[in-house]
């Protein structure tokens, strides 16, 4: 399960993710993080069964969390199966099946956004 965690820097510089890992014992995978002077946002992956627990602890520490059900929105009608997205993806989300049809493994996506720019047919967009 992917969660987008937003922390406000106004509440100080508590290490929210580290705190939650220690308190809950849940191993959190930080896939992407962007933190500037007043706000931070991180994309984390947690086991499905621990999702509720992690969210409650994070919100108790002042962070807000949002479940990410989809990552890339893939428009099959616009796609021509060219494969321009395959080699620019750092997570190997894209590939071909035996008929040279594009395959999309959404679960691997970390929302870096490269494919959105690389797709000549505007068939890929991010759900953010």
């Amino acid at each position: 399960m992917k969660l987008v965690v937003t922390f406000s820097r106004k509440r100080g510089r508590e290490p929210v993710i580290a705190q939650v890992v220690r308190d809950t014992g849940v191993l959190i995978n930080v896939e992407r993080a962007q933190i500037d002077s007043h706000e931070g946002e991180a994309l984390i992956e947690v086991p499905d069964e621990a999702c509720q627990l992690v969210r409650e602890r994070m919100e108790a520490l002042g962070a807000t969390t949002r479940r990410l059900d989809r990552t890339i929105l893939y428009d099959r009608d616009e796609c021509v199966d060219c494969g321009a997205c395959i080699s620019i993806c750092p997570q190997d989300v894209f590939g071909f099946d035996e008929d040279w049809r594009l395959t999309v493994d959404e679960g691997r996506c970390v929302l870096c956004g490269k494919c959105e720019l690389a797709c000549p047919h505007r068939a890929l967009s991010l759900q953010l």
């Binding site: 060219c82 494969g83 321009a84 395959i86 080699s87 620019i88 690389a118 000549p120």
Partner: protein, 501 residues
């Protein structure tokens, strides 16, 4: 019995012709032998589906009342060329919208028309006695046009060099997004299914030959522009009726940072009349090689890192300088296969017969570069030859004095051999002032990764370096990294003053 085109067409009309795609031929020849394949197969179909920038349509709008001699015309804000009499225009695929920039262009107008969507046409004219009207604005659909004829000056490249980027920044090119430090390789073309690769001697590909174009039956006009078959880069000029085309085989696209292009399906049927045709159509992806070219070099002569076959490219990875690098096709192999198989079905069901070329295509030509009678300005013509320099072991105070005295914002830092070691700017010194607790030398505050230019570099390229890196000066270095000048934004503005920017 000698095979003739008439015999093949007779078999097509009788529904008895054996038509296979070029992808099937290598296996068929391996199984039946060349003689066996010749006896078995009547026609081999090829197909490709990819970005074909050099495409466009001639449109005839018919006359308005009162009539207008259109001088400039736009379709959904995309300008078409109107210098072909009163109510004709040529709309190029890569022309961009004046309002939506590279998200909409000629290719999108063509796709909209083929999809049954009407577009807004506006035009203006100075008005003449015979054509008094000065402006017009109307909605038109494909069926409203008298003619909509696709004429593409350069399609169906025989093969195309693969692309890589050895610089340390992302490049946005017509070969797609190229990651820094050879992070990926992109390639184009259908390899084994490519039309010209299956007839590289142009024995059956020539003027007047019927083809599949955008879902319709089109034909080969002749050699394409930049046709360069001597080096294995032949091209075709083709034509077809837009009104008979299908949006399945004609798709507008945008290469981010480059612009609009048209993805188009094109297939050529090749009659199997002799053993030489059998051999040519038995070509495989492993037989077709291209260079992997460095798009990080901004000149025409881009260096090749290695040769690679379509088989290697299609495997998903190629080795570049000891590393496994992921590849991306930009053409759709699935769609190329579909073009070849739909074309095969049309022929075997009797829906399309073949023809021999009415005129041959030259197979010996090499495309030449542009003749440039006036060379663009070079860095040496506008650079500052006075360079204020310092060494890394001097204090920042000395550096500040030199900056003030030299009336410059950039000090070149040299090593003990007099080579470029870094650059110090007023900005770097300001940072040092804010941390007075540390006594600092120039080496502590200077920028070490310096972007440079050379004296014979075109000014356009140097200006792009300044702009892209958001910097205001470039040291001009020679081959030994000795600094021979500085190029600043001020030098560039003087060039504009000279009226040749």
């Amino acid at each position: 019995m000698e095979r003739t085109i008439d015999l093949i067409n007779e078999r097509i009309r009788d529904g008895n012709a054996v038509v296979v795609t070029a992808e099937r031929m290598p296996d068929l020849v391996a199984e039946l032998g060349e003689e066996g394949a010749l006896a078995e197969v009547d026609v081999v179909t090829t197909g490709t589906f990819g970005a074909m920038c050099s495409s466009g349509v001639f449109l005839n709008f018919g006359h308005a009342d009162p009539p207008i001699r259109m001088e400039r015309v736009w379709l959904n804000d995309v300008e078409a060329y109107a210098g072909v009499a009163a109510v004709d225009a040529y709309l190029g695929a890569t022309q961009q919208s004046e309002t939506r920039r590279d998200e909409y262009g000629g290719a999108h107008v063509i796709e909209d028309l083929v999809s049954g969507t009407s577009v807004e046409m506006r035009a203006h004219s100075r008005g003449t006695d015979c054509y008094p009207r000065r402006t017009i604005r109307t909605e038109i659909g494909l069926s409203d046009l008298n003619q909509a004829v696709m004429v593409n000056p350069r399609n169906a490249y025989q093969r195309y060099n693969a692309a890589v980027n050895t610089t340390d920044r992302v490049l946005h090119t017509y070969m797609g997004m190229l990651l820094p430090n050879h992070g990926n390789v992109t390639y184009s073309g259908a390899g084994v299914l490519n039309p010209i690769s299956n007839d590289p001697s142009f024995r059956y590909i020539g003027s007047g030959v019927p083809i599949f174009l955008g879902g319709a039956e089109g034909m080969i006009v002749g050699e394409g522009t930049q046709h360069s078959p001597a080096g294995g880069f032949g091209t075709l000029m083709v034509s077809g009726d837009l009104k008979a085309m299908s949006p399945d085989y004609l798709r507008a696209a945008t290469m981010t940072g480059y612009g609009v292009t048209l993805y188009l399906g094109l297939g050529v049927p090749i009659p199997v009349l002799d053993l030489e045709t059998v051999r040519a159509t038995a070509v495989t992806d492993a037989d077709i090689e291209v260079d992997v070219v460095d798009y990080g070099v901004p000149g025409r002569a881009r260096p090749s890192l290695r040769k690679v076959s379509y088989a290697e490219l299609r495997s998903g990875h190629v080795e570049i300088e000891g590393e496994e690098v992921a590849t991306s096709p930009l053409s759709s192999f699935r769609m190329a296969r579909q073009v070849a198989s739909v074309l095969a079905d049309r022929i075997s069901s009797g829906g399309m017969t073949l023809a021999l070329p009415t005129r041959p295509i030259d197979r010996t030509k090499t495309a030449r570069p542009m003749v440039e009678t006036a060379q663009g300005p070079r860095v040496r013509e506008i650079m500052d030859r006075q360079v204020v320099a310092i060494t890394g072991d001097e204090s920042v105070t000395v550096a500040a004095k030199k900056l003030l005295k030299g009336e410059t914002n950039h000090l070149v830092v040299l090593d003990h051999e007099g080579r470029l070691a870094g650059v110090v700017t007023t900005y770097d010194l300001s940072k040092a002032v804010l941390r007075p607790e540390r006594a600092m030398t120039v080496a502590d505050v200077m920028t070490r990764r310096v972007i440079t230019t050379e004296s014979d570099e075109p000014v356009d390229i140097a200006a792009r370096k300044l702009q892209r890196n958001n910097i205001s000066a470039l040291p001009v270095v020679d081959a030994d990294r000795h600094v021979i000048g500085m190029l600043t934004g001020t030098n560039l503005s003087r060039l504009i003053g000279r009226g040749r920017a």
